[in-house]
Assembly symmetry: C2
Homo-oligomer: 389 residues x 2
């Protein structure tokens, strides 16, 4: 087990009707004037927006609206939100939405007290030394941003999608009502299951000394997500499955499944290149294509671990480690397919001609090798992208 620091201060209000407490929660923290960010309007269509505003108004909270965050939230939007937040002197930022909205809020919050360009954080030129507090009302189980230390933004001018980690990226609070995800489409639900699984799965395969408890917790999260995914493809209104998917997505990325291992997400680096370049690609769908390809590229380098994954998560019974490992990866790929996920880049309209560009984006023109079961240099990244063309 590696040494680690575990810091997950986000206060989570989980369960039915919890979003109706938002005015009380904000008041209890002592905030009087807040910015509210949300997406393209689905929160208005569902009535959530009205409920949130009513609760805030009932507690006398002044609101500065900032709607229109898009999936793969952009740096331009964040710049504008920072300008407004400074001008209006809001005391905190409330995200009403999924990971994109929360990440937009986190980046805004870190940018407000910073003299330079907030992109400095995303490009690792600087680290935040302060940030406005961020809270959220979660509407999508996927990114885990409600409890995570990371924020991902797309710089459209540079065609770069970049995340950075910081304790200042931890939400002060997260309001998580699984019922708010009833209206999420089957496709987006599936993307969320895959993304949630990836956050645990990628940490699970970080090469390191044994971590028995973290392994078992990780397997629990994966097991629960598979079960919830299967149920939700049948019945999107199953409360227990929605609740399991939502809590699992938070636990999967709050640091717990990395304790003693680390938090590096290798396959996410490939996917950020993919959906940064092809912005119509849903992050979870990109991961669903890349995860099996990555696993097939790597598994021979750590057969015992892939075999453990196969046996404990996918109930594979094969005695031989290589056979078990292969069956486990096949079971994972089959599950993603069952969820309705694509299995090739072609299904996104991405041709082999794009691969060199994706490799360059992933390895930053060969400047970095990504830690993984097999270290991912240019050649490895290329081989993985090619294998899922």
């Amino acid at each position: 087990m590696r040494n680690f620091t575990y810091y997950t201060p986000t206060k989570v209000f989980f369960g039915k009707d919890t979003h109706k407490q938002i005015g009380q929660i904000v008041e209890d923290y002592g905030f009087r004037k807040i910015m509210v960010q949300y997406g393209k309007g689905s929160v208005k269509a569902t009535g959530l927006y009205d409920e949130v505003m009513a609760s805030l108004a009932a507690h006398g909270i002044e609101v500065v609206e900032c709607g229109g965050v898009q999936p793969n939230p952009t740096l331009d939007f964040v710049h504008e939100a920072i300008r407004i937040a400074r001008e209006t002197e809001v005391e905190m930022i409330l995200a009403v939405g999924g990971g994109s909205v929360i990440d937009s809020c986190k980046s805004t919050a870190a940018g407000v007290p910073y003299d330079g360009d907030v992109w400095d954080f995303h490009s690792y030129k600087a680290s935040p030394q302060a940030a406005l507090p961020v809270g959220c009302i979660l509407t999508l189980s996927a990114a885990g941003s409600e409890m995570s230390a990371s924020a991902v933004i797309t710089n459209e001018a540079l065609c770069q999608k970049r995340g950075f980690g910081s304790p200042f990226n931890r939400c002060l609070f997260a309001v998580c009502n699984p019922e708010l995800t009833y209206t999420v489409s089957p496709y987006q639900t599936a993307c969320g299951i895959v993304d949630s699984m990836a956050h645990t799965l990628e940490r699970y395969f970080i090469p390191c000394a044994p971590t028995d408890l973290t392994d078992r917790i990780a397997e629990s999260v994966l097991h629960a997500l598979v079960g919830a995914g299967k149920t939700l493809m049948e019945d999107p209104h199953d409360y227990e499955a929605r609740a399991t998917a939502m809590w699992a997505s938070s636990v999967s990325h709050n640091g717990l499944t990395g304790c003693g291992r680390g938090d590096a997400l290798a396959v996410h680096q490939l996917e950020h290149a993919l959906s940064g370049e092809f912005t119509a690609v849903a992050h979870g769908a990109g991961l669903a294509v890349l995860l099996p390809a990555w696993a097939r590229y790597c598994y021979r380098r750590d057969l015992p671990r892939f075999a453990q994954f196969a046996r404990r998560v996918w109930d594979v019974t094969a005695q031989d480690d290589e056979q078990a490992a292969r069956e486990g990866i096949d079971a994972m790929a089959a599950f993603f397919k069952f969820l309705g996920m694509p299995t090739t880049l072609r299904e996104f309209g991405v041709s082999a001609a794009a691969i060199d560009r994706l490799c360059a984006l992933t390895t930053r023109n060969g400047e970095r090798v990504i830690e993984s079961v097999v270290p991912l240099d240019d050649a490895a990244v290329k081989a993985i992208f090619e294998s899922c063309c």
Copy 2:
């Protein structure tokens, strides 16, 4: 899944040599003058005390010493510590020790800004509205107090051992170096394994709606603790096992294994009566006697759950739920015995004559019924105590 609030803000510095960072950690939080509480001197014998003081001195931290906390920490000691903390105007309290020292610090910290008697909190006459910050350097994997919201103190005048929960009881930080537990005796190591298991196990059996993810995480914690316990009885210096036991004890009581279920610890109520009245009884040893007795009293009321526990934690293969449940309880009892734990109250020198008194203490003279698989009224408590005489 029940609605829940999850709030675990303690920053954990986990791993080898982490205690040597204590001066830097305290300085980073901005504290200049702190109280240090510790126990009966073992921290001096091991050299830990000197290392801690050297690190604090190197960072210019002024220390007010307050040694001599005893196992089952007393209200009298806390009163005196509160007086000293007020007089010296310390800014935070650092516990160097196990759960007893940490709980003493928590109670002291809550008492300092409170006008009344701190026992008001333990007897539920009042709730803390403020507290000094508490940090700890953990030397024993057992109570989970380093991350928990609870603090247990013994009022010797009333012969009462009482815990209370509060967000103010959450440590600001916890320094957890598994190597510091190498010197813990096999008996105390075993007691710690049992106590750690109990925190998860008792939540696991709270009657409520399904909680698939929490179940699996709970089973992971129990599995890991059983494995670590077996290894440590053979080799007390196995780092990975010490690390697993330490991290599991924190996770077991930080709220995670109660998410969607609740945090009521039924068997702990019986044990607090036992070790409150017979102060030589080690808490974990008391639990080792009471847990199987409680399980045998209750299991028929929730056979599917006890059968799940048996199959997933103890690898019982019996098809019949009743048989599986019984085999699971037997396996748990056998494991406690393997750890060298007592199996009867008699081994503590507690005779049948004491049972009425223990019942009265547990149910507070019949004033409360304890939530459990079977609600524990006077008659139930009596039957459980009698069954392990």
